[in-house]
């Protein structure tokens, strides 16, 4: 089995992984970085982010305001030391992207333009039309090409984290093209694999968002944190789940029900005068309640409401929201210049992830996590739109600097023990590929997982259906042991990858359902019909879940409070 060696191994080539790679080679002029991604980095799902990245830029704004908005948006479950660090570093990181060529949209005077976003007190979201993730990703990727010490391993799927002597030692990766497994040793490992939206049937996430990094850490014994908090974006296209950015509302878009009412004006939904610029959790709930009240519009993919941009005018839409125009025309046959866009809430983002501290460090020496696969507790129970792209940069950079320092001083570990672990893993994956006669079709397991989570972990949850989801997912994990693999070929075997991804998704799905079941309150994106109020007395804490061979084990962790005391969350 071939073994490769680097100082830092980064798993994932999206915004967080690329930012980490650049920070690592800049922090240490000697460091060699492996950037391991299951796709070519420019295919990473960062590419699909649309609306913008938040950082204080205007004279009428302040770090304190950005901090408070984020704390309040998190329903007071965000760690305030993390949030304060984040808002302070955010302008610096977006400025760096500007220096690296990101085509940020501009004001007439040549300064960077900002737009309004949900839950933000003022215009602090930097944007490059409505393809911000695309432009940030390509800027980072192209900038990363200037560093020879960033060694890319494209289309390599990491199947295991190597842990020995209480420290991360590297990974085992399946070369998708060649079908061989290799050991990639690193003195530190940074997970940056993104989210896990594909646990659900209806999601904005691309096919690659399968919770790989979360599952790698979880299987290595590390806790996942706050997994019950799944963000439903209010405006996805029915059928496909394709995202229509919140920037559409930032530019003046209105939400209308079947009878044409701007229902957020009713005062029933807690968004106050923010209306469409309320936080995502509240707007998604409002849409569901309108539909339940019989004010939805029936379509081939269930009921939906309207996002109306027709009053904004063609010129502004073409300038500010060209991608929205393109997506609506291609995928629902609607021209937003003259027609409202059909939308419904759609699974978008995991607030939870691999538990880390403010440095992106996990409990395991040498293991870091950044981006959506991590939970630094910046977002708490509900993330504000446009904080996550910035989060990838701020904590990608910070974790890399810490990883570099750690890597300089860490011990070597027992090379023989690491090699044996890697060989066992290679044998496991190879035997899965060669396996004959499994009784469970992966597509059916995936479908049942999707249904279990959709039924149990929707915008509104209740104890009965949550319990059913937990039981169903536990059974599915058992049945997965008998999964069938029909493609036994070596080269570019995408069925094998899908089966490995399904294993990851099942772990993550169970973690989502089981943490949701234990949180008997409503906070942020976790709205529990049986317990409609927030309960700080019992639940002002993070949820932790550990992998155990039988059922997952639950634990909790304190929230770091600070200058902002928990208060009623009203807008």
């Amino acid at each position: 089995m071939e073994t490769l060696r680097h100082d830092i191994v980064i798993v994932g080539g999206g915004a967080a992984g690329l930012r980490a790679a650049i920070a690592a080679v800049e922090a240490d002029p000697e460091a060699s970085v492996a950037l391991v991604s299951k796709v070519y980095p420019m295919r990473s799902h960062t590419v699909s982010a649309e609306g913008g990245a938040a950082a204080v830029a205007r004279p009428d704004d302040s770090l304190e305001m950005h901090g408070y908005d984020t704390v309040k948006g998190s329903d007071f479950l965000g760690d305030q030391d993390v949030i304060e660090y984040f808002v302070e570093q955010a302008p610096r990181e977006l400025t760096l992207l500007e220096h690296w060529g990101c085509p940020w949209s501009r004001n007439e005077d040549g300064s960077v333009a900002t737009r309004a976003f949900g839950g933000m007190a003022t215009k602090r979201t930097w944007f490059a039309t409505d393809k911000v993730g695309f432009h940030m990703l390509h800027t980072l990727f192209q900038h990363s090409m200037r560093f020879d010490r960033i060694v890319r391993y494209d289309e390599q799927f990491v199947t295991k984290l190597l842990v020995e002597g209480g420290a991360a030692r590297g990974v085992v990766a399946l070369d998708v093209r060649e079908g061989v497994l290799r050991t990639i040793l690193g003195r530190a490992v940074i997970l940056a694999t993104g989210g896990a939206g594909k646990c659900f049937p209806f999601t904005t996430n691309g096919s690659i968002k399968t919770g790989d990094g979360m599952a790698l850490a979880y299987r290595a014994g590390l806790p996942l944190k706050d997994m019950e908090f799944v963000q439903y974006h209010p405006t996805g296209l029915p059928g496909t789940g394709i995202l229509i950015t919140e920037a559409a509302r930032g530019e003046g878009g209105r939400l209308l029900n079947a009878v044409g009412e701007r229902f957020l004006e009713s005062g029933d939904y807690g968004v106050g005068s923010k209306l469409e610029l309320g936080p995502r959790d509240m707007i998604s709930r409002a849409i569901i309640l309108e539909i339940q009240a019989g004010k939805g519009i029936q379509g081939p993919y269930g009921e939906y409401l309207h996002l109306d941009l027709t009053h904004i005018g063609r010129a502004t839409l073409e300038k500010r929201l060209p991608f929205v125009l393109e997506l609506a025309r291609i995928y629902v046959g609607v021209d937003p210049v003259s027609q409202p866009i059909p939308i419904r809430p759609v699974v978008h983002y995991m607030m939870g992830g691999v538990d880390t501290d403010i440095d992106g460090a996990t409990e395991l020496a040498g293991l870091y996590a950044v981006g959506e696969c991590a939970c630094h507790s910046l977002n708490g129970a509900n993330r504000l739109g446009s904080n996550s792209l910035t989060e990838c940069l701020v904590f990608g950079a910070r974790a890399a600097r810490h990883a570099v320092t750690y890597a300089r001083g860490c011990s070597e570990g027992d090379a023989g023990a690491v090699r044996r672990q890697a060989e066992e893993e290679a044998a496991r994956v190879t035997s899965l590929r060669d396996k004959r006669g499994g009784g469970e079709k992966p597509v059916e397991l995936r479908g049942e997982m999707n249904s279990a989570l959709e039924d149990g972990c929707g915008v509104y949850r209740e104890q009965g259906s949550l319990r059913k989801a937990v039981e169903a997912l536990s059974r599915l994990r058992g049945r997965y042991q008998d999964v069938a693999v029909e493609d036994h070929s070596v080269v570019f075997n995408t069925e094998l990858i899908a089966v490995l991804e399904l294993g990851n998704l099942l772990d993550v799905a169970e973690a989502v359902a089981i943490t949701a079941l234990q949180r008997k309150e409503s906070r942020g994106a976790h709205a529990c019909s049986d317990f409609p109020a927030r309960n700080d007395g019992e639940y002002l804490h993070h949820s932790l879940v550990y992998f155990e061979p039988g059922a997952p084990r639950l634990d909790k962790k304190d929230v770091t409070l600070g200058r902002w005391e928990p208060e009623e969350r009203k807008y």
């Binding site: 699909s48 995202l243 081939p300 070929s489 570019f492």
Partner: protein
């Protein structure tokens, strides 16, 4: 529910461990009226034949993974409506690239070409982050914006007659991206890139067939970029003759 039609998909199959040359396989697929070509491929993968390999991810025309040849034309399959086709749809891998497996082609050549054009901001002196952002007017942004929209889907390489004859040709996307940086008011690397553009297998290999711009799913217009790059590379060369002087490498 919605009306379902059946279409026959004739798909390229190739496994280098089993096949000397690519062959085709036909699949009969019940097609929903709003489906794209990619939806049919995913249906085949999920419900008919799990051994079919193709790349895809975002299914919203921005990640660039799912470029293939559909009825002879390079297409982004997640954007390509099935209603535009008759009862038989032929799906092949992108032309002008080596096939790895089924509909999956080798992209490493493009990655090397992209790196060759120095797709990053080149400056003699980096601005300190404390100094804030560069000023760039909306008009200056407009100069290069269109060429920054390339999603690297490779449709233009599949369509390009020069790439077909001259595989080392830098190609439309890489030239458009290099040119994009040349046009960026923050960049000072045009001399270096023009040097590259004057070399063999670059802008002057282009015969201006315009195929690249016709197939581009994002209206990047790489043919315009190549043409402009030719012009600036010549002007830059002429200036050097008139004004000799030391140049940074």
């Amino acid at each position: 529910m919605v009306e379902v039609r059946r279409k026959t998909f004739v798909v390229t199959r190739f496994d280098p461990d089993r096949d000397e040359v690519p062959k085709t396989q036909s699949y009969d697929v019940p097609v929903q009226p709003d489906w794209k070509v990619l939806d049919a491929l995913n249906f085949i993968k999920d419900h008919i034949d799990p051994t079919l390999s193709h790349r895809w991810s975002c299914r919203m025309a921005v990640c660039g993974s799912c470029g293939m040849t559909v009825n002879g034309e390079p297409k982004l399959t997640c954007k390509d409506a099935l209603s535009d086709y008759g009862d038989t749809v032929e799906v092949e891998p992108l032309a002008n690239f080596p096939i790895i497996r089924d509909l999956v082609v080798e992209l490493d050549g493009f990655m090397e070409k992209l790196e060759r054009v120095k797709p990053w901001i080149v400056r003699a002196k980096q601005k300190a982050v404390q100094e804030g952002t560069y000023r760039q007017s909306p008009a200056e942004l407009e100069e290069f914006k269109q060429f920054s929209e390339c999603i690297n889907c490779m449709l233009c390489y599949a369509a390009c007659p020069v790439v077909a004859n001259e595989p080392d040709f830098l190609g439309p996307a890489a030239i458009a991206i290099g040119h994009r940086y040349n046009l960026d008011s923050r960049d000072e690397g045009a001399d270096q890139r023009n040097e590259i553009f004057r070399g063999e297998g670059t802008v002057f290999s282009c015969t201006y067939a315009n195929e690249c711009s016709e197939v581009c799913p994002k209206n990047v217009d790489p043919a315009a970029a190549v043409n402009q790059a030719k012009f600036t590379a010549v002007i830059d060369w002429a200036k050097r003759l008139v004004l000799p002087g030391p140049k940074e490498g």
